[in-house]
């Protein structure tokens, strides 16, 4: 900024004044509730009122087998969902990066699951997964893989897998689009030089494309881990965490405790666990971003 315009301190005041409305809004609607959640986790707050109960919520939570199962399940669910998103997203990006006719149309056609409200998209999946009339069960029955109607969301294991697939469907487009953008950012002369040296398509992918887009792959892994961890609507709409808790992740459990039973204190304790895990992810992500930025500015 030009020195003639304003002195440094005046600039600071103007900047803070301009940022203040947005900052205050976020403090009131996001930051204060985060702190309040922590406070509530030490109380037995409900619609009736609240009393300080110390660590009781936490003790109960960590000593319950059910809760430990939920934590494990959350990470297993996340692991499969994120891996599939990255693998399918990478394959999709490679395919849509190929210089063939129609690719610009396909690039637009990937995006709908990303933009459409999740709650509406899940109605489509409810229909697909329908055990009697859905197309998946239908194909299964006609090919003889299934010997009768099969409700994909009605059994523990199939519901677990089905929610993962729906989550992958929602998350893959964004991963694909980001990978594609990264691939197009790779300098063309790298490929031309490699081509002149006689490198095969395969070599060029593994020795040029993949190393060049690694920072984006890492960033996207973390980001999609965070979003997958936060995934609420998909499971809530498809199974509400059931059958018999088999798709209850941390977020679903937090919601059920807090707003299903109006046990705010217990719900808050779970929310604090979610918060801590998210902060760990966020810390990783920001540290990584800072490192990548540093590397780029050194180059």
């Amino acid at each position: 900024m030009n020195q003639k315009l304003k002195s440094y301190t005046a600039q600071t005041y103007i900047a803070y004044a301009l940022i203040a409305p947005a900052a205050l809004y976020i403090i009131l609607i996001v930051a204060w509730p985060l702190l309040e959640t922590i406070r509530l986790s030490f109380t037995n707050s409900s619609l009736a009122g609240e009393d300080y109960v110390g660590l009781e919520n936490y003790q109960k939570m960590f000593s319950s087998k059910k809760f430990n199962g939920i934590v494990t399940r959350t990470f297993v669910w996340m692991f499969f969902s994120v891996s599939l998103k990255l693998i399918i997203g990478l394959i999709g990006a490679v395919l849509l990066n190929a210089n063939l006719k129609g690719r610009s149309i396909f690039r637009v056609l990937v995006m709908p699951p990303w933009v459409v409200p999740i709650a509406i998209g899940m109605l489509g999946w409810l229909w697909l997964y329908n055990g009697y009339f859905g197309i998946i069960a239908g194909v299964g029955m006609r090919t003889g893989i299934l010997d009768g109607p099969f409700g994909f969301l009605a059994y523990k294991q199939s519901a677990f897998i089905s929610t993962i697939i729906a989550d992958v469907w929602v998350g893959t487009p964004m991963v694909t689009v980001f990978f594609l953008a990264a691939m197009q950012g790779v300098p063309r002369d790298l490929y031309e030089a490699a081509y002149c040296d006689g490198a095969s398509r395969w070599d060029r992918f593994f020795k040029i494309t993949l190393p060049q887009i690694t920072p984006v792959i890492i960033t996207m892994s973390l980001l999609s881990a965070i979003w997958t961890f936060n995934s609420f609507e998909i499971i809530w709409i498809l199974t509400e965490g059931g059958p018999r808790g088999s798709t209850t992740t941390l977020i679903i459990d937090t919601y059920k405790q807090a707003l299903g039973n109006y046990k705010f204190g217990r719900g808050a304790a779970r929310a604090v666990v979610v918060m801590i895990l998210l902060m760990l992810f966020a810390g990783f992500y920001l540290a990584l971003l800072a490192r990548i930025n540093k590397k780029i500015s050194h180059e």
């Binding site: 103007i14 309040e36 056609l109 699951p113 459409v116 409200p117 031309e192 971003l289």
Partner: protein, 279 residues
């Protein structure tokens, strides 16, 4: 660069076909189901062929769920309010980030990124209590207020990058000519940043339209304020689900965002990926 041989071409197109099937199957199936009569849908196993396709469900759905029109209006109204409020909060902040140097600038930008990572689900309890105390449960505001908060961070990042593209020389020249800050804002920044504002506004609209579900099921029980993502579930309340009408209503409900996105996808994707890809 070498061309693909026919075999490679077939392989790639086949791959694209499989990939696209996964992405588009739910939409295709939804559309197909919306065209079929209910008794064709209720056959097990699944019938691939119907000879009786019509847009009947698109007419009948308004009778089955009489409030459907209201839900669609609510969704539009909520998303528009959220988008406008987001812009009001974000324009000055993004301008400050683009143009001024001040202490804690980078730190606060990263804090914004971090806020993006918290889902609304973590802070629902205090928000519920806050809205209850303010008497705002079961109102439009109960969905608008939290909606804006979760769009501000990304909107600041997006708009900041648009403001940064406006050459600073223009402002300095005007300043030297004696123009005031307000005049600069009105006559230079505003017209030049209109495209950016439109893109960020539409991003906020789409985001607001998409995020309605969680806040709506938690903070609002009143039918007259329900947005379409929750309103659609009324079709399930009937003895047998009228799948064809529900799918028709779902497609109508997603159409506005889909159209907006298709027309503006280039700008939105550019804006969002720029940060992650090129830094």
């Amino acid at each position: 660069m070498n061309k693909y041989n026919p075999f490679e071409k077939i392989l790639i197109y086949f791959g694209i076909f499989v990939f696209m099937t996964f992405i588009l199957l739910p939409f295709i199936e939804m559309f197909y189901a919306s065209l079929r009569p209910l008794d064709h849908l209720f056959r097990s196993p699944y019938q691939f062929y119907s000879d009786d396709l019509s847009f009947w469900a698109y007419r009948e759905m308004w009778n089955t769920v009489p409030m459907l029109g209201r839900y669609i209006f609510n969704s539009f109204f909520l998303a528009s309010c959220v988008a406008i409020l987001t812009l009001i909060f974000v324009i000055p902040a993004a301008y400050a980030y683009a143009r001024f140097k001040f202490p804690a600038k980078n730190t606060s930008l990263y804090v914004l990124l971090a806020i993006n990572m918290f889902s609304g689900a973590v802070i629902l309890i205090p928000l519920y209590k806050l809205l209850r105390t303010l008497g705002l449960l079961n109102s439009y505001q109960s969905m608008i207020i939290p909606g804006v908060a979760f769009l501000i961070p990304t909107a600041i990042w997006l708009l900041k990058s648009y403001f940064e593209k406006i050459p600073i020389d223009l402002e300095e020249a005007a300043f030297v000519d004696g123009a005031s800050r307000v005049q600069i804002l009105r006559h230079i920044i505003a017209p030049l940043s209109t495209p950016g504002l439109v893109v960020v506004g539409i991003y906020a609209f789409i985001g607001a339209y998409a995020q309605q579900f969680l806040f709506a099921i938690t903070f609002n029980q009143k039918k007259e304020y329900m947005p379409i993502p929750t309103g659609l579930y009324e079709f399930i309340g009937y003895q047998s689900v009228k799948w064809n009408e529900m799918m028709a209503a779902a497609l109508v409900g997603m159409l506005p965002v889909l159209l907006l996105f298709v027309f503006l996808q280039k700008y939105i994707v550019e804006g969002l990926t720029a940060g992650a890809v090129k830094n």
